[in-house]
């Protein structure tokens, strides 16, 4: 059996994500990824958009593999990819790895974050991570009817201003708001809608470390890859992300940003993050990354 460590196997197969992105990208078929927490109606939305029959059970974590379908909107076809439901884009489970790697490496043309309006705060956590990864992103505020029944009214306009990306309220089960959602997707894809994501600003020393790591990550990845988020993952000691940039050796990564990283970890009386030395032995696993 394959050994199991956080964020392991899917990333070592890195090139497949890029391949998948390319394969899905039929000419004139923009790729739209649906990301979201489990049980936010993501699969229902996917079915409504694509007309495919995909089983949508009411339990978390059901979609393990990527479902893919075609949506037609105003005479144009879009490839819709239903990512596994995850609470974050750190790669601490297979689902998270799959979702994170798809967004970071396969680079969909547009990403839609499906958020459950009944528990917005937890869903925002993922949305904030996704806007770290890409500019071409919209938030689909789903289940607004249920939220209203439960007594919470979400101000979509204010949310839009806070995140800096378009927010569309929907009720996927009844097909409400889906036209406007696809209009937004089309606009993001063609560039008629531009976003100014308001990204999270981390603690100053963390930002300093990121500034050191990100150029190194950029050097090792194909143009357009989500370098900032991969740098965040690498800084957090995520083995998958380290393997991904492993081509240049983790040693270089530590040397290049040594000061900053040391400050971050030692500021709390800790040594370097425990997974870093291990990464040294797994250099250049991601050799074919730039192909």
């Amino acid at each position: 059996m394959v050994g199991h460590h956080h964020g392991g196997s899917p990333v070592s197969d890195g090139p497949t994500w890029a391949d998948l992105g390319r394969a899905a990208r039929a000419p004139g078929h923009p790729v739209v990824a649906l990301a979201g927490n489990p049980n936010t109606g993501k699969s229902t939305l996917f079915n409504a958009l694509t007309g495919l029959r995909q089983h949508t059970g009411n339990w978390p974590g059901k979609t393990v593999l990527l479902a893919q379908g075609v949506a037609r909107h105003r005479g144009k076809s879009y490839t819709i990819v239903d990512l596994p439901g995850t609470y974050s884009l750190f790669a601490s489970s297979v689902e998270e790895s799959v979702a994170s790697d798809f967004l970071c490496l396969a680079r969909p043309d547009v990403t839609v974050v499906v958020a459950d309006a009944t528990c917005l705060e937890r869903n925002l956590n993922l949305a904030l991570q996704v806007i770290e990864v890409t500019d071409k992103v919209a938030v689909c505020l789903n289940l607004v009817d249920e939220a209203r029944r439960k007594g919470c009214e979400c101000d979509a306009t204010m949310l839009e201003a806070e995140l800096g990306v378009p927010v569309v309220a929907t009720v996927a089960t009844k097909g409400r708001g889906l036209g406007r959602l696809m209009d937004t997707v089309a606009g993001l894809n063609s560039g008629t809608i531009t976003t100014r994501p308001k990204r999270v600003v981390y603690d100053p020393d963390v930002e300093e470390a990121l500034a050191g790591i990100e150029p190194l990550v950029t050097r090792k990845l194909p143009p357009g890859a989500a370098t900032r988020w991969l740098a965040v993952r690498a800084l957090c000691g995520d083995m998958g992300a380290l393997e991904l940039v492993g081509d240049m050796s983790a040693l270089e990564l530590v040397d290049g940003t040594g000061g900053a990283v040391r400050k971050v970890t030692e500021g709390f009386g800790l040594g370097p993050a425990p997974s870093w030395p291990a990464a040294r032995s797994t250099t250049s696993t991601a050799g074919g990354k730039s192909s």
Partner: protein, 449 residues
């Protein structure tokens, strides 16, 4: 993610920054209104409390099975009568066309009769059970079940998500094995794969329902009472399977697959009223028709094969009778007979056809009945020496024995290991032989049956 002795890591601080931001945005964006009464916490307390959680689970299971048993009875009879009337007509047509006896035998007595049996006995319970199950699934009840059973899985050294893969197994064990992908730890995934077979799949449900109906109705006379009693028997069998799952998981995690259970998060989703119409259509088309077509596709050639085996005579006995003779001692040890074991072996492609094969081989050995109802099934089985104890042994063997060929193939695809695929067949078979032998011994000791 981080060792417990490190109170704050970079990862923690990054996550903290994200959460603070999410919290501040949510605080600005959400305008609380006077909340409508939300019943979810109240219902959840009932469904997951120590006191009421398990009784409600058992009652739900019992109710679904009772509805299935009672509801399936009448349509089963109507379908059976219709299909066997058609058999007479087919027979007549073939004789009129001057078809040779062997062709008539293979096509009508072999293929058609097996098909008719599969359709009339399997279709009604599936058409009732699947929608009920899908409704529970869409309502959001299954994660509550997983929550209730979590402690038991922890005890067995397995992953709590295994209850979700078991739920899938109720539909089809092959689907259940595929669903094991949701379990991250390879060790726990293997445990879930190897034990999925102990959940009764829909290929075996109709058989259990038919047998318990037949043998319970000999004891309980009223229709409603018999239905309830038969449902209770099936609940008992299902629970035995679940107990076996825990037992074997426990054993595996202390022998072949040693380890400590890993943690996981499971969200209890809000209850959502299922879209009943869509559920009905989906479960009828996706599950019922799919499973039925699969059964029919396997049953047709199997019916032909069994007819040939039952009518090829070597040294005065049919091939099936010879096989049954060899397996007889082992069968009787387990409270069964040789014919039953032959049927289970020939039924490897799909569990749905085990009982039809058995009926065919019993019929082939001289007894001719119109097999158009459950009563005639009871008469046929009794004529071959069946008592309630035989039925019990049969049901236990059906519950515990090796998985069908489709499931084994799926296990191989998921594990890519012939060793684990072999284990997936060998472990349940060993359990089945041990349990049935034990139960049959008990029955013999107490002088019942």
């Amino acid at each position: 993610m981080n060792p417990p002795q490190s109170p704050v890591t970079v990862a923690d601080r990054v996550v903290a920054s994200l959460y603070r931001r999410a919290e501040s945005i949510a605080a600005k964006v959400i305008a609380p209104r006077s909340p409508a009464q939300d019943l979810t916490p109240v219902i959840d307390r009932l469904l997951t409390s120590r006191l009421t959680g398990f009784p409600i689970m058992l009652l739900t299971l019992g109710a679904v099975l009772w509805v299935t048993v009672v509801g399936a009875n009448y349509p089963s009879q109507v379908l059976g009568r219709l299909l066997f009337d058609l058999q007479g007509w087919l027979s007549g047509a073939m004789t009129a066309a001057g078809a040779p006896a062997w062709l008539h035998g293979v096509l009508v007595s072999g293929v058609y009769r097996t098909l008719a049996w599969v359709v009339s006995v399997m279709l009604p319970p599936m058409a009732i059970f699947f929608p009920c199950f899908t409704l529970l699934e869409d309502l959001g009840y299954l994660p509550r079940v997983a929550f209730n059973l979590d402690a038991a899985f922890k005890w067995a050294g397995a992953c709590g998500k295994q209850s979700l893969t078991m739920s899938m197994g109720f539909g089809c064990n092959a689907a259940g094995v595929i669903a094991c992908r949701i379990i991250d730890s390879p060790r726990e995934r293997l445990i879930a794969i190897l034990t999925n077979n102990f959940v009764i799949c829909n290929g075996r449900f109709p058989t259990l329902i038919a047998l318990s109906t037949v043998f319970v109705s000999q004891v309980v006379q009223t229709t409603i009472g018999a239905g309830a009693a038969a449902a209770l028997v099936v609940v008992g069998i299902v629970l035995t399977g679940i107990v076996m799952t825990f037992g074997v998981s426990w054993l595996l995690s202390r022998t072949l697959l040693r380890g400590v259970p890993s943690f996981y998060t499971l969200e209890l989703p809000p209850f959502r009223w299922p879209q009943v119409g869509r559920v009905l259509i989906r479960s009828v088309i996706d599950r019922t028709v799919f499973v039925l077509l699969r059964a029919v596709a396997v049953a047709a050639p199997a019916g032909a094969l069994v007819w040939v085996l039952g009518n090829t005579v070597i040294e005065g006995h049919s091939v099936i009778a010879h096989l049954a003779g060899w397996l007889g001692p082992l069968g009787r040890l387990m409270g069964l007979d040789g014919f039953v074991l032959v049927a289970f072996i020939l039924g490897l492609p799909a569990n749905e056809i085990v009982l039809p094969i058995l009926v065919m081989s019993y019929l082939g050995s001289g007894m001719m009945v119109e097999m158009d109802s459950l009563e005639s099934l009871g008469i046929l089985l009794a004529a071959h020496g069946w008592s309630w104890a035989t039925a019990l042994s049969y049901m236990l063997f059906s519950l515990l024995h090796w998985p069908c060929a489709t499931t084994l193939l799926t296990v191989w695809k998921e594990t890519r290991s012939s060793r684990w695929t072999f284990a997936a067949a060998a472990i349940p078979t060993a359990v089945a032989v041990i349990v049935c032998t034990f139960v049959a011994g008990l029955v013999r000791l107490t002088g019942n049956a």
